[in-house]
């Protein structure tokens, strides 16, 4: 796989060097009218250095954001939201609350040491509201290369179906590739028969789910509803694979042998996973994506940036607002800039893919957020960058700075940008949206 994002032309080339778009791709590219926007949420751990994040009012430049600001096409579609506060209290520390509450809008659940989301996260709220008719209505993928003992399992995802019901983050590009681009039986008759067998298994399972569900109360039934929904989505994907009948274009297979838990592979894994997300979005395989850039509160060493220090304890926690230790602050900026570059590269790839109206980026809302406002666990002034036009619903550019605004207001505005009517979010049903939007 090349290091570049896949473009539409790459896909066509992979389909057999023909300009005749195969059925699968034709369907895939055929984004229905009024489909609304796509949403991608990136979460970065361990805060940022505030003074290096927000653009200088005079020059308009920012050491961290320059990869986005200096690309004129992206800068025109960039909105920075200042003053957002995650007001959540309860289980876990501020790292945990960044992951378990920023996008759920409700108090965390679980235990003090194992703090999970207390309700559905915004990707699942949107899924329920928009019911996107695509093969992967939501996709939770990311890069979590292990760096410490896996005792913080609750920190691996910020996507929740329900209280404590975390959607696992797919971190394996090989598996994601296989799920997105299924192998199909080359003999159509055989393929039809095999599909029938698979469907029979799924139908039998669905019948059992229905029978069981009838005996349950509302809370337990919700659990099975998520199961049933996943089953039906999987069934739809099987059918689509068959309809592609082997003509489904797919990128070249990922070279084998990448160690998924080795931190030094994070840049390569990030690139591979983001490339697959670009394909998923541009082919209309999915419309709602959540993507952690590491576990919350992670302890990566960023050796690929020649840092080689625990970014949590030995960098983020030592950074000060004034930048009293220039080496530490330098590392802090370098790390955030690395993620800024990944976001810029991702957005540029989306912007390079034209659609009937604008580009894929124009019809998307890409949010790059952070669990903390700074390296000292602050939940105030979270650095929020929104790129894209959300299919014309988000038209602001520059810095939205209207003082303190809650994460409920942020989520409410995101819902509205995605075309969903909302007066509030989570446990604040009347929070309203962001002031100034």
């Amino acid at each position: 796989m090349s290091g570049n994002a896949f473009g539409r032309r790459d896909l066509l080339r992979a389909a057999g060097l023909t300009l005749l778009v195969p059925a699968f791709l034709r369907d895939a590219f055929a984004v229905p009218e009024n489909a609304g926007a796509r949403l991608v949420i990136f979460m970065q751990p361990n805060g940022t250095h505030q003074r290096a994040f927000w653009p200088d009012p005079t020059t308009g430049r920012s050491p961290i954001l320059d990869p986005l600001l200096t690309d004129a096409a992206l800068a025109r579609k960039l909105l920075l939201i200042r003053g957002v506060v995650n007001t959540t209290v309860g289980f876990g520390n501020e790292h945990d609350r960044g992951f378990n509450s920023l996008w759920t809008g409700v108090l965390p659940s679980g235990t003090p040491d194992d703090a999970f989301g207390g309700g559905p996260s915004i990707d699942q709220v949107l899924r329920a509201a928009l019911k996107p008719a695509v093969l992967f209505p939501t996709l939770n993928a990311g890069v979590l290369a292990a760096d410490v003992a896996p005792k913080n399992g609750h920190r691996r995802s910020f996507s929740y179906v329900d209280s404590m019901q975390q959607i696992p983050t797919q971190t394996d590009p090989y598996r994601l590739y296989a799920a997105l681009f299924r192998q199909v039986e080359s003999d159509p008759q055989r393929a039809t028969q095999e599909l029938a067998l698979r469907r029979s298994a799924l139908d039998a399972s669905a019948r059992d789910l229905t029978t069981l569900s009838a005996r349950l109360g509302p809370a337990q039934r919700r659990k099975l509803d998520a199961h049933t929904t996943a089953l039906r989505e999987y069934e739809a994907r099987l059918s689509q694979s068959l309809e592609a009948s082997g003509a489904c274009s797919k990128p070249a297979a990922i070279a084998p042998g990448i160690d998924l838990v080795l931190e030094d592979n994070v840049p390569q894994l990030t690139q591979l996973m983001l490339d697959l997300v670009v394909v998923s979005l541009s082919c209309n395989l999915t419309r709602l994506v959540t993507f952690p850039f590491g576990m919350c509160g992670n302890q990566w060493f960023y050796r690929w940036l020649n840092i080689a220090r625990d970014n949590h304890s030995d960098i983020a926690h030592l950074d000060t607002e004034e930048g009293l230790d220039p080496v530490i602050t330098g590392y802090m900026v370098q790390i955030s800039r690395f993620w800024s570059e990944q976001v810029a590269r991702f957005c540029s790839a989306l912007d390079a893919i034209p659609e009937e109206t604008g580009s894929v980026l124009d019809n998307s809302l890409v949010i790059w957020a952070n669990e903390n406002g700074n390296g000292s666990h602050s939940l105030s002034n979270l650095p929020i960058a929104c790129i894209g036009r959300a299919a014309g619903r988000q038209t602001l550019t520059g810095v939205l700075d209207r003082g303190t605004q809650t994460h409920h207001q942020l989520n409410t505005s995101v819902l509205r940008w995605m075309g969903v009517h909302a007066d509030g979010y989570g446990d604040q049903p009347n929070s309203g949206g962001l002031t100034g939007t």
Binding site: A219, Q299, H377
Partner: protein
């Protein structure tokens, strides 16, 4: 092959049976249920060892006796990843394709019913796993059919037995008829073999296989119901063995009410917990309790510690497995055997890489027959003792580049004293100053407590972690760090065994004396087996059990049996 034949033979027997029967201010968590957790255990005298009264008798609330305020809700519990893998392996003869997505844990346990679900994030794993298992199974061995002309009957017989084993209950005629509808199309496509594979795949994808069903009879809202005999058998078997009921237990369940009698349950519980599966389940509990589920997933900074190879990690995991096996068998399965074991099991490679410094001043060094063979070796009694002394445990609770006295202490307080520490409020968060990068870890962490706002908690936390500083992030004994002497003088504070200690051996000796630790282990076992956190109303279950477990000669297996016999274990409450 022989094992598979054994399975088939067992199934035939089953079919016959079925035919016949049909503390720091603001720091430690203040929880409403703290009274039933570990802290309560510090009070009160230990029950005399001679009486060995069961907690059921103590409470006067045996099965069917007085009822507690808290009854678990009717629920479905998804099998955890390890339960699922084991179940598929037992049914098909081979473990399923590894899942890429680990289950979330709560208190270190992967059995929490609320946290386990199936969603768009992991359904495909189950679907593919079922398909692969079905495609790889040896049909001739699993579902032999002597009469090809009557293959449908063979398939049906296979389905009845296989589904019964997979679901841990008798399957009903209408269910069999429904599932058999998939057989004929498959047979038409690929003969009897594909027909059987398809049935097997369907069973492995059924929610009756993927979940443990704990519903009881239909009832009004907010009512308490008894689980059915089959559900009771499943609850008993999963709690004590982590798997579906075996043939004997299931046959009992299918006979109806006998399993609902307390003595039958006790006899079955004793049989199960003392089986190989029972020991495996206790091992799983202890690995979760101590946060050492899989040492192969513990990483260290590769540049600084190139010796921490996959091989070493594998060997550390083996060391823990052998240590626990010994503690639960030869050691009598007591908490003392776990906390205070005087020997470990290592090979030459582990010795050379991680343990050699322990024996530097000892005249008699361990002898190994070759590089790979594991040998029982006495700890240096001055330095290490018990599970907390194992290099793997201490490495698992250290960051990748250095030790963290705070991490180790917080883990020990949460897991063994049931006293989790509340993280500092965000607005008060005061990161430690950088300190001298060439100094000792202890010195850096001591600067925490210079700030008064930190002292409330860190004066309790840090001394516990400091006492383990003689063991580095890999689990090696050390006397210096950055050419400076290591100070391992530590202390336990705000516990029932307060006092100074230095090193894992002295800490173990204190923990073995602690009734607070014993009470906490009871609470942790409850969380592990019930699949939920304790609540205020669970005191009537936990307090008698904590009383029961006070004598140090009582084993974890005995405790597990008493726990499953406690009131409410086989009752459920309908939703309001």
């Amino acid at each position: 092959m022989y094992r598979l034949w054994g399975l088939v033979r067992r199934r035939v027997l089953w079919v016959g049976a079925f035919a016949l029967t049909g503390a720091c201010a603001g720091g430690e968590q203040e929880r409403g249920d703290s009274a039933v957790g570990g802290s309560s255990g510090a009070a009160g005298a230990a029950t005399g060892g001679a009486t060995m009264a069961s907690p059921v008798e103590v409470s006067g609330a045996g099965a069917g006796g007085a009822r507690c305020a808290t009854v678990t809700e009717r629920r479905l519990r998804r099998l955890s990843g390890s339960e699922y893998s084991h179940a598929v392996g037992e049914l098909t003869g081979s473990a399923p394709a590894a899942f890429s997505l680990p289950d979330p844990t709560v208190h270190g346990f992967d059995t929490n019913a609320d946290a386990l679900g199936i969603s768009s994030g992991n359904f495909e794993d189950y679907a593919i796993s079922a398909e692969l298992a079905a495609s790889e199974v040896d049909v001739a061995a699993l579902a032999p059919c002597a009469s090809p002309m009557d293959s449908k009957s063979c398939a049906r017989s296979f389905l009845e037995v296989f589904a019964t084993q997979a679901f841990g209950r008798l399957v009903h005629e209408e269910e069999v008829a429904s599932w058999m509808s998939a057989y004929e199309p498959a047979r038409a496509l690929g003969g009897y073999e594909l027909g059987v594979r398809t049935l097997l795949q369907n069973v492995l994808l059924s929610p009756y296989f993927l979940y443990r069903v704990e519903l009881g009879a239909e009832a009004q809202p907010s009512a308490e119901v008894e689980l059915s005999p089959e559900e009771t058998a499943n609850v008993l078997a999963f709690a004590l063995t982590g798997q579906r009921p075996d043939a004997e237990l299931l046959a009992l369940a299918l006979q109806g009410g006998e399993l609902l009698e307390a003595e039958t349950r006790r006899s079955q519980a004793n049989r199960l917990i003392r089986s190989e599966a029972g020991r495996r389940q206790l091992t799983r509990f202890l690995r979760g309790l101590f946060g050492i589920q899989d040492l192969r997933a513990v990483n260290k900074e590769p540049v600084r510690f190139p010796m921490y190879t996959p091989r070493i990690k594998e060997e550390l995991d083996t060391e823990i497995a052998l240590f626990l096996e010994h503690a639960l068998s030869t050691g009598g399965g007591t908490l003392d055997a776990v906390l205070g074991g005087t020997h470990t099991f290592i090979n030459q490679n582990l010795y050379d890489t991680l343990y050699a410094a322990d024996y530097a001043e000892q005249p008699d060094k361990p002898v190994f027959p070759d590089a790979g063979t594991f040998v029982q070796v006495p700890f240096n009694p001055r330095l290490r003792r018990g599970l907390l002394g194992l290099a793997g445990f201490l490495a698992a609770h250290s960051p990748i580049h250095r030790t963290s006295p705070v991490d180790r202490a917080v883990t020990l307080r949460a897991r063994l004293f049931c006293a989790p520490m509340q993280p500092p409020p965000g607005l008060m968060f005061n990161p430690p100053p950088p300190g001298d990068p060439e100094g000792t870890t202890r010195k850096k962490f001591e600067q925490h407590t210079q700030d008064k706002s930190c002292q409330a908690c860190h004066r309790v936390i840090d001394p516990l972690g400091f006492g383990l500083e003689m063991i580095d992030t890999l689990g090696r004994y050390r006397t210096t760090e950055n050419q400076l002497p290591v100070d391992s003088s530590g202390a336990l504070l705000a516990t029932d065994v307060d006092g100074p200690f230095a090193g894992p051996a002295e800490l173990a000796a204190r923990l073995m004396e602690s009734q607070q630790v014993r009470a906490c282990v009871v609470t942790q076992l409850f969380r592990f087996m019930e699949g939920r956190d304790e609540r205020q109303g669970d005191a009537c279950v936990l307090e008698p059990l904590q009383q029961y477990f006070k004598p140090r000669e009582r084993s974890l297996a005995d405790l597990a049996v008493e726990m499953v016999l406690s009131p409410n274990f086989f009752r459920r409450r309908t939703e309001p």
